[in-house]
């Protein structure tokens, strides 16, 4: 069984040395993976070890897309079969993350519950659905920071949360080495919302298939 670790443009530079990792060529891609007999155990230790491995890979190449933990395939033929339909998307995503890394910004604060609107026509209903969809992709809470972040951020992925104090998780793609400037641009609070920034991390949130 093959445990897939990450998708790369090409095998990493010589400074990466881990004999447990091999690189399988799939089309124009190099897939970092390891051989195993069973699914990896899910524990803090194994998650930290995998994160460490992906960081080492990331440090040895310009573009990397980490795989989700527990991505197993039977053999190289299945790996090629699974990745073939994604090849164009993967190439585009590798272009996006080349020379960049991920920062994560969490926005905490009490939710303001909007009064429910009752659509009386189909048009109103669709307009309300469109507004809700737009709101789900945006983070109005950090609007005051946009001008400050604009020169640092190349792409953004937003995940909104409901029902708990964490209102949104925002992943930003910044230039490698740009994390200090990013962290310096994030205040502890903005308009009553508490902000927590972390990173840099490999660009997990910018893989194809992860909700934007």
């Amino acid at each position: 069984v093959i445990d897939v670790y990450a998708v790369l443009e090409r095998p990493p530079r010589r400074d990466f040395r881990d004999d447990s990792v091999r690189f399988v060529k799939v089309g124009a891609l190099a897939v970092a993976c390891g051989d195993t007999e069973r699914a990896p155990e899910l524990s803090e230790a194994t998650l930290r070890a995998r994160d460490r491995l992906v960081r080492e890979l990331a440090a040895s190449c310009d573009a990397i897309l980490p795989a989700r933990f527990g991505s197993l395939v039977a053999d190289e033929a299945e790996l090629a079969e699974k990745l073939a339909p994604l090849s164009a998307e993967l190439a585009k995503a590798l272009d996006l993350v080349r020379g960049r890394e991920q920062m994560t910004l969490r926005v905490f604060g009490s939710a303001v519950v909007a009064a429910p609107t009752r659509a009386t026509t189909g048009t109103e209903y669709l307009a309300e659905r469109a507004r809700a969809a737009t709101a789900a992709r945006s983070v109005a809470e950090i609007a005051p920071l946009r001008a400050r972040l604009a020169p640092l951020v190349f792409a953004e992925r937003v995940e909104r949360h409901e029902g708990i104090a964490l209102r949104a998780t925002v992943h930003h793609l910044v230039a490698r080495g740009g994390s200090a400037a990013y962290l310096a641009a994030i205040p502890g609070t903005v308009e009553g919302f508490t902000l927590r920034a972390s990173g840099p991390q490999p660009p997990y949130a910018f893989a194809p298939g992860v909700p934007a």
Binding site: V4, L42, F69, A207
Partner: protein, 70 residues
């Protein structure tokens, strides 16, 4: 000079080194290239990790409050 330490478990996890644990769980289990449609992991164990993450975030809610702590 004595370094000021975070007060609560939630603050400890959201601050400094343990912020990485939250990111690791979120990134590795929730993001990344999905080679397979479904992951081959024990469901109960995945649920356990997410339960811990949920508890952590609820604890952050109580720790920070609506107006933040700054």
């Amino acid at each position: 000079m004595k370094e000021e330490l975070p007060d609560t478990p939630a603050e400890q996890i959201l601050e400094t080194a343990d912020a990485t644990l939250l990111d690791i769980v979120d990134n590795l289990l929730n993001r990344g290239v999905m080679v397979n449609g479904e992951l081959v992991l024990g469901v109960a164990k995945v649920d356990l990790v997410y339960l811990r993450l949920s508890l952590l975030l609820c604890a952050a809610d109580r720790a920070f409050g609506a107006q933040g702590r700054d």
